[in-house]
Amino acid sequence: MEPSKSIQNRRSFLKSSFLAGGGLMISFSVLPELGIAEKTGTLNLAGEWNEITGYIKITSDNIIKIINPNPEFGQNVMTSLPMIIAEELDVDWQKVVVEMGPHDSIKLGPQFSGGSSSVRMYWKPLREAGAAARQMLMQAAAETWMVPVEELTTKAGMIIHTKSMKSGTYGEFASKAATIPIPKGIKLKDVKAFNIVGKSKKNVEVEKILTGKPLFGMDYAHEGMMIAMIEHPPGFGMKLKSFDASQALKMPGIKEVFTLKLYEDGFEQSGFDTRSFNDLLVVVGKTTWEVMNARKKLVTEWEPAGDIKDIIGGRGGKKEVVVPGELESTTKQLEKLQAYASKPAELLRKDGDPETAFKNAAQIIERTYNAPFLAHNCMEPINFFAHVTDEKALLAGPLQGPGWSEPTLAKLLKLPADKIEIQMTRMGGGFGRRAYGHYLYEAALISKKAKAPIKLIYTREDDMTYGIYRPMYTATYRAALDANKNLIAFAVKGGGIPEHAIHANRFPAGAIDNYLAEGWQIPSNITIGAFRAPRSNFNAAAEQSFLDELAEVMGKDPIDFRLELLKRAKENPVGKNNEYDADRYAGVLKLVKEKSGWGKADNKKYHRGVAAYFCHASYAAHVVDMVLRNGKPYVERVFSAMDCGIVVNPDAATNMVEGAVIDGIGNSFYGKLSHKDGKAEQTNFHSYRIIRHSEVPKKIEVHFVKNEIDPTGLGEPPFPPVFGAVANALYKTTNKRHYNQPFLDPSTQQNTGENRKKTF
């Protein structure tokens, strides 16, 4: 492949190039602004496969293969993205073979799983790719049969000419289709005519999963592969002072022990190059168990690393960031958060005159909410395979954004991008964690130095204690009511370590005349990043609890109160840049109200909590029904309403929402990562509490708003409002507001007076 000269067009487009083997390739590139290198060129045809577009390969005997471009981490893209292609291509889904594509941004687009964007960003390009291929196949048939293409129809992989009673399979015309120019202005199907999209299809890899086939990075094997592990410092803010590997090297199976620097001084990191530690102490050996044992024999001395300067590149240009060297402890962090909360902060949005409104208020309600760091705890610990030589590099493993990791890898290995091959395995969970490619760089550098193919494996302890966590957040909400209990002003001031969570232009911004949003942050050496909508999942807990409390003070039903605000935002919006669509937001609230039988007497046995939230581009609302079971709060039922536009694979989408609900209950009840002198205090599942079987609702009823809006994404949106609905149900159950997460952690719940600000 050769690097391209220029990007012709900033929107998605189709391109074609003729192939030596007679197949035709269509490729597209979307979101070039993401900086994904665009490449053009030819590819080797695999045997008798005719490549009709980068996503579609057809043999002459009509075996149809669809390539899934985007990494699969449980969100079902391996099934749902090919369904979109199959829909426009018009094939029999049962006969389609689906294959995971390699990293190839020319043929397969941006290839990023995250931000609930997979279906949203691929929707149109994949429909176009399917439709273009169908058109080309029909054109080939028309030329062969010498009939006008307009007279042809297709049905489930067959091309039919009714007048002449001719018909043939796609396979018969696949190689001829290669000689046909790309059609312009491809007509896409009417949404109402869909017969694959919108009909539940089984996970295409379900059989492999249920029979234990190698699918995951952890399962990846390669001739001569060694296992590598990294011995990290015991805590954030520390580095290696000295080590003695003599005993470790005597252990069976051990090949070598060495140190390695991940980024050289002055290395310019891009946005997803976050890493917890830069100086790596590496053990390489034959098997996982042998390397684990050898690590125990390492004699190490660590010392405080002091302040570190990182150079971060990106859209805003290069900047130098000082990472403070302090060995941090959660108790100290909480004190810092309190101290910062009273300082002036950055103004994020202001409507009207909130100061005066608060001054004139008859009543002011002020509440502070806190949440700890959260670890991702993907079921499959971090790992990656690398085989790096002087000429080229092969990498394979679980990764959310190969297009973001490849440029960094090329710089680190000093290899051109076209000498780097990245294969994406199925991921045992991601949740944002695997958007950060440091572990792939680590694997590559270890392989290069060890001159061997290696698989880098993090133990569970490594995975949990050297994470890229959901930040620690706090926010203080204030509301001003007039003498008639009308809401006249609303303010939020949020902070966090090392960033705050405030989305200033989201609801209820736009619905209140006097509105203020401010934010502040405290730098830290504890590494943070994406976590299933990290900011939103905190906000949806804090803001949605606050609105619940506010409704109570105002004597209003919590759903009606929100709907009133949304009506205002719709009819007479305050300010500019309101990010949400008030109708869609109200739509999920109305749907959940109806489906849950809100206010109906037969639900009296439940303590009900409601919350709704908008994030990424979709809307979610939940009603959580809680009871006390053996004296402990238990969520017995949940009703969910989602608006994510067209739902591609309904049963899988439902599964995703159920999972988000369970994940939300678990994290809001128990999720917590705390630190002492830089060290994570939770190291494995005995101390990091994860929700388990007996704690799961008996029923989760998921409803989707039916509309014809292009898909707006689903991975994250259902997750955040679970936190708020759980908090509100807990209040009804226990008569006590829960301001600090995790809600069922005894240390967080001394929530009277000043204490509620101070504890985790």
């Binding site: 379900v206 996982t288 569970r460 599964n655 159920e658 494995n684 599942f685 079987h693």
Partner: protein
Amino acid sequence: MINLNINNKNYELEVDPDTPLLWVLRDTIQLVGTKYGCGVAQCGACVVHLNGEAVRSCVTKASRAVGQKVVTIEGLSENNDHPLQKAWTELDVPQCGYCQSGQIMSAAVLLRENKNPTDQDIYNAMEGNICRCGTYLRIQNAIKLAAEMQRNESK
């Protein structure tokens, strides 16, 4: 040198008998359906059957399996047709899928012993299996469905 019988096949292996069965399965004989999740008996990703009982292979020394019958997910059925595999497929249970072989291996023991498990029976048998994606409810429903399939078959 130890001898192990795994999925009805005999293996003569050059491994330290103290090695956890998990790593013998995964690293030595490349049966990777059994997963590593925690290494300390907390997550259930590594569950296999030792003489028909569910054990956590991450804390089971290979020596303990000598002379016993080990069954892993790869040996649970001939053609992916164990009632649990059928029910799991029917309800399209997995999300990421990483925990699922452990879940199924735990459930298989329950189902053999209990033809009609209640919620509480399921909780008792499955509490040690974590699913980070939150497919628990589908797993529970699939166990009930499999029990039903099994009862119908034996009628």
